[in-house]
């Protein structure tokens, strides 16, 4: 009996070892095909995923691996060489000029309020005062008598950085009541709170608002927050969605970047509510 058990244990071990061997053998086959790794901004990742799928279908034997982790990671990984291409959802900073940026689309960031909020427009100063806690009641900006709920983004998001630059604030100046992670959580939070103010990607907000979610996008500096105004370059809070590389891209990376900027993927870019590059006027 005991002997039997030992035998079966030995079989088990052999089986596991065999699994490893088989897994090991299948490796070289994969290595022979080409692989492209993209990491970075969560804003770009869904688009990059779609681009990757189409790119793979056009180039059999190529695998494109897309991982998210924020713009900062896109910069970090492409610099270190862990990723072939980094995704960065903003312009490169002065200290990042060692990298090559290739804009594949544009995106705008819009202030959103609950659809029932009577406030129709906010000046830049009012937005700053709301976010820095100088205005705590909506009646100060012509709304109803109710406390403002300030929705801010979590540390490290490029949406946050872009908004901070626009509002000329430091993150520690912001008196937030809710801190959110991604766009959809922000939209849900504002949709569930009639007195909330938040900022999210215009594409995502326009899509949700069009599907009956009770939010509204506010004009910024008098310009309506629409994908159309991001496209014609008049909307003040817009950002390029960049693919970055450490050196001038070549080989597969170059092919992918050219593909991502070409007219044959405009339908994919527009499906994500971004603005394709070649259509942009500025």
């Amino acid at each position: 009996m005991r002997g039997m058990k030992i035998k079966s244990a030995v079989h088990y071990v052999i089986f596991i070892a065999a699994l490893f061997v088989v897994a090991g053998w299948s490796r070289p086959g994969n290595a022979a095909s080409q692989k492209l790794v993209l990491t970075g901004a969560s804003t770009i990742a869904p688009l990059a995923g779609e681009l990757a799928r189409r790119f793979e279908s056009l180039h059999p034997g190529v695998r494109v691996d897309v991982q998210t982790g924020g713009s900062a990671r896109g910069v970090y990984d492409s610099r270190k060489g862990t990723a072939d291409i980094g995704m960065v959802s903003r312009s490169l900073k002065p200290e990042e000029q060692d990298l090559q940026a290739h804009t594949i689309a544009w995106d705008g960031i819009g202030i959103i309020l609950h659809a029932s909020n009577p406030v129709a427009s906010l000046s830049r100063q009012q937005i700053i005062d709301l976010y820095s806690g100088k205005i705590i009641n909506w009646n100060a900006v012509g709304g109803r008598d109710a406390r403002v709920t300030v929705v801010n983004k979590a540390e490290g998001r490029s949406t946050l950085e872009l908004f901070l630059t626009y509002a000329k604030l430091k993150n520690s100046d912001i008196k937030s009541h809710v801190v959110i992670g991604d766009n959809s959580q922000g939209i849900k939070t504002v949709a569930g709170n009639p007195n909330a103010i938040g900022y999210v990607s215009i594409g995502a907000a326009e899509y949700e608002a069009g599907h009956g979610v009770p939010i509204k996008l506010m004009p910024l500096d008098g310009v309506a927050a629409t994908v159309a105004n991001v496209r014609n370059g008049t909307f003040p809070l817009s950002r390029p969605l960049n693919l970055v590389t450490r050196t001038l891209p070549e080989g597969l990376a170059l092919e992918f970047i050219e593909f991502a900027r070409s007219g044959q993927v405009h339908d994919l870019v527009e499906a994500q509510y971004f603005v394709p590059v070649s259509v942009l006027l500025h």
Binding site: R2, K5, I6, A9, Y12, S42, T68, G69, G70, A72, R73, Y76, A146, R147, T149, A154, E155, G156, R157, K170, N171, S172, S176, H177, V178, V179, I180, G181, Q185, K188, T189, G192, N193, P194, N195, A196
Partner: protein, 274 residues
């Protein structure tokens, strides 16, 4: 076979040790560059500006878990007593299944329900809605089945002889529960509560969705808070360098917290028969 079992047990044990080691290694850069007291004394948590105060998140974690335990413990014990001693047999089994079902609901579902239903409700009471209170209520729902099911198991483990003895003495049902059942099931119930506390402290997604995640010491139930676990989930994908290491420090703190709790449970364990 014995060797296989030993091997499996060894792997399980070494995984825990490896996780601890990994947390320590990853948080080492932060521990070396940022002195320990700064994690409690910095003006705020703003890793982008080099400030790393974990204290508000520690208090947030404790308030949320403590509040949930305060609510879930009496409710859980009451429902266990109800199933064991008061409910008609058929009703008891239905009720039991319902509690088990509650235990099986994924935490994201609780979070989603909290975000879309509970938070707007609290917002009408007192803005902003996303608050310590919402976190406590969602956590209560999540740990209630743990408390109720372990308490029920502890009640069932009370020797039937005790109950017969009590009946023979002519004690009332409540007298029997109060004088005999609860004291002899005490350790089992406490173990369940500690288990629930561990879950409450570590719960991430549901809490992240309803507590507002503002880093501050809560002054009232309606203030938003951020827990340690939520902090890691919220910032880890976007963190690098010292910021990332500081998040590993909060993971280490969380792990030590739960280990201390388990240690407490183990310390209470041997007194079981006393």
């Amino acid at each position: 076979m014995l060797w296989l079992l030993r091997g499996a047990a060894g792997i399980a044990a070494s995984v825990v040790l490896l996780i601890l080691l990994f947390l320590a290694v990853e948080s080492w850069p932060a521990l070396r560059q940022i002195s320990a007291e700064r994690f409690l004394a910095d003006p705020s948590w703003n890793p982008g500006e080099g400030m790393y105060n974990l204290a508000p998140m520690l208090s947030g974690t404790l308030y949320a878990a403590g509040g949930a335990l305060l609510l879930a413990t009496p409710l859980g014990i009451a429902s266990a007593l109800f199933i064991a001693f008061y409910a008609p047999p058929h009703g008891a089994s239905i009720y039991q299944h319902l509690v088990e079902l509650l235990a099986g609901i994924p935490s994201v579902v609780y979070g989603f329900w909290g975000l879309t239903t509970l938070v707007p409700l609290i917002n009408q009471l007192h803005p902003p809605g996303a608050s310590l209170l919402a976190g406590i209520l969602v956590l209560t729902l999540m740990i209630l089945p743990t408390v109720a099911l372990t308490a029920h198991a502890a009640l069932l483990a009370v020797p039937a002889d005790y109950l017969r003895g009590a009946a023979a003495l002519g004690m009332s049902r409540w007298g029997m529960i109060q004088g005999i059942v609860l004291p002899s099931a005490k350790m089992g119930i406490v173990a369940g509560i500690i288990l629930a506390a561990g879950r409450a402290i570590g719960e991430t997604m549901a809490v992240l969705m309803v507590t507002g995640n503002v880093v501050q010491h809560a002054a009232s139930l309606f203030n938003p808070i951020r827990t340690l676990a939520a902090n890691i989930a919220l910032e880890m994908p976007y963190a690098m360098g010292d910021h990332r290491a500081a998040l590993f420090v909060s993971g280490l703190v969380l792990m030590l917290f739960v280990m201390a709790l388990l240690g407490l449970a183990a310390w209470l364990g041997p007194n079981r028969d006393a």
